[in-house]
Amino acid sequence: RNPSQFTTNPSPDVSIPEIKRHLQQYGYLPQNKESDDVSFEQALVRYQKNLGLPITGKPDSDTLSQILLPRCGFPDDVEPKTAPFHTGKK
């Protein structure tokens, strides 16, 4: 767990490592690589933007609720990593 603003476990059901695994699985963080606080926050912002959530950059309740929901296994659109993805985005 990073010694940052995310040191408090945001929910009894979702730990920070679990959130990071989720973000890795869907393309927001690189796989098998430690992420620092900045990249974690940036990943959360992209996740929140792509899921139409309030953009806080924090693992807030709206974000955790989404993370806990069942979903499609296809990765989401992630802007900085996949620029060609956006050629067709409105």
Binding site: N50, P70, C72, G73, D76, T82, F85, G88, K89, K90
Partner: protein, 193 residues
């Protein structure tokens, strides 16, 4: 709406006809094959009503453009399923055509009959995954069929305007499509809800 990198789509002679088939060895124990076929026919119909593409069921899984099956865990495509809930299904971008559903889910076509708290509506997932098969990525519009999450025991079977505009920009417009028909289906869903 979002496309895949490079904006891949099915490129065939117009009018575009795509075949689909079910893996007979990989179905779900929760549903009868006739129910699965009926649900997918309806789901394909949703997309076919807005774009000039027809979907034709075939018995020949090997040569079908779109190959549908229910699979458990690691099933050989590098994207293992994870058991109940979590990942429900996945597909690949055009013109791959593989559409895989997690066999571990409690798939349902009627929540009055299937009482499980973790039941997942097959038609909602089918509509979403067909969108991927056609070339759409995940939408950030919560009411869109292409939004990536789905609550258990919930349904989202109709296309949203975001889905329609996205897919029509890939394939053009079905000459029989009218905005009224889309609005009517949304209204009927809202009333049902």
């Amino acid at each position: 709406y979002v496309y895949f990198p490079g904006r891949p789509r099915w490129t065939r002679d117009v009018p575009l006809k795509l075949t689909y088939a079910f893996s007979q060895e990989n179905l779900t124990p929760y549903l009868a094959p006739t129910d699965i076929r009926r649900v997918f026919r309806r789901a394909f119909g949703k997309w076919a009503s807005v774009i000039p593409v027809s979907f034709i069921e075939t018995e020949d899984y090997v040569i079908a453009d779109i190959k549908i099956g229910f699979f458990n865990g690691d099933h050989g495509d590098g994207e293992p399923f994870d058991g109940v809930l979590g990942v429900l299904a996945h597909t690949f971008s055009p013109e791959n055509g593989r559409l895989h559903l997690d066999k571990a889910e409690t798939w349902a076509v009627d929540f009055d009959e299937e009482k499980s708290s973790v039941a997942v509506d097959l038609e909602s997932v089918a509509v979403h995954e067909i969108g991927h098969v056609l070339g759409l990525g995940h939408s950030s519009v919560k009411d869109a069929a292409m939004y990536p999450t789905l609550k258990p025991r919930s349904k989202k079977v109709n296309l949203n305007m975001d889905d329609v505009v996205g897919v029509q920009s890939l394939y053009g417009t079905n000459p029989n499509f009218t905005l009224n028909s889309l609005l009517a289906s949304e209204t009927s869903t809202n009333l049902a809800d």
